[in-house]
């Protein structure tokens, strides 16, 4: 069976953490990722860039609506994801608007950290 582990954290606290604490966290993640890979359970993982770089797209009845910031509607739930490789944010937003989920829900677009 496949499971998705979604990681939530207080982003402001992380971004203002001292350098030493950040490198400790990075090392803990490196060890964790190595352990999962060794066990054979790992399929994919990514770290997301901060929500200040997030964009949310809705496209009800073909009326595209693009908002800066992450998803913030508590009546909707996370239903799935697409990971795509595109040249820039404009290309990502246009794929987001074409996603059928944008017609009846919201698509949060989050750039990924490249390490």
């Amino acid at each position: 069976m496949q499971y998705l582990l979604l990681i939530y954290t207080n982003e402001d606290a992380m971004l203002s953490a001292p350098k030493e604490a950040s490198s400790q966290t990075l090392a803990a993640y490196a060890a964790y990722t190595e352990a999962i890979k060794k066990s054979g359970a790992w399929v994919a993982s990514h770290r997301l860039r901060p929500t200040s770089e997030a964009t949310t797209v809705r496209n009800p009845n073909g009326k595209k609506n693009v908002l800066n910031g992450p998803f913030a509607e508590t009546k909707e739930q996370l239903a799935g994801f697409y990971l795509i490789e595109v040249p820039d944010l404009d290309a990502a937003l246009s794929w987001a608007a074409r996603c059928p989920g944008a017609a009846h829900g919201s698509i949060e677009v989050r750039p990924i950290w490249t390490m």
Binding site: Q2, Y82, E85
Partner: protein
């Protein structure tokens, strides 16, 4: 650049939908995936099972249900292939962020 498109929707409205509407949406998703593949931009995608199947892990506590803390933000994910929810929760507890944040565990549709 790599980007993640995260889909949010009213899950109860989806579950109450008529078979016909559901079939139409299913077809729209198939066409969308085909378009992404044709453009060569798709790296991976998954649909998630309803939040009724979700568990959330904080420190050593396992709670039924999805993540529900508005002071935290989605920071990343791991997609794992494991035999069952128990194994998934074992890995969730070991995520470093589980010590100071929350890890939501969601079974993926196959």
């Amino acid at each position: 650049m790599k980007v993640l498109l995260l889909m949010y929707q009213d899950e109860r409205a989806m579950q109450k939908m008529s078979r016909e509407d559901f079939g139409r949406i299913y077809g729209a998703f198939q066409a969308y995936v085909e378009a992404l593949n044709k453009a060569g931009v798709l790296l991976g995608n998954h649909g998630l099972q309803p939040t009724a199947q979700a568990k959330s892990v904080r420190k050593d506590a396992v709670l039924d249900g999805p993540f529900a803390e508005t002071k935290e933000q989605l920071a990343g994910y791991f997609l794992l292939e494991v035999p069952d929810m128990e194994a998934a929760l074992g890995w969730a507890k070991r995520v470093p962020t589980a010590q100071w944040g929350t890890v939501e565990v969601r079974p993926v549709w196959t």
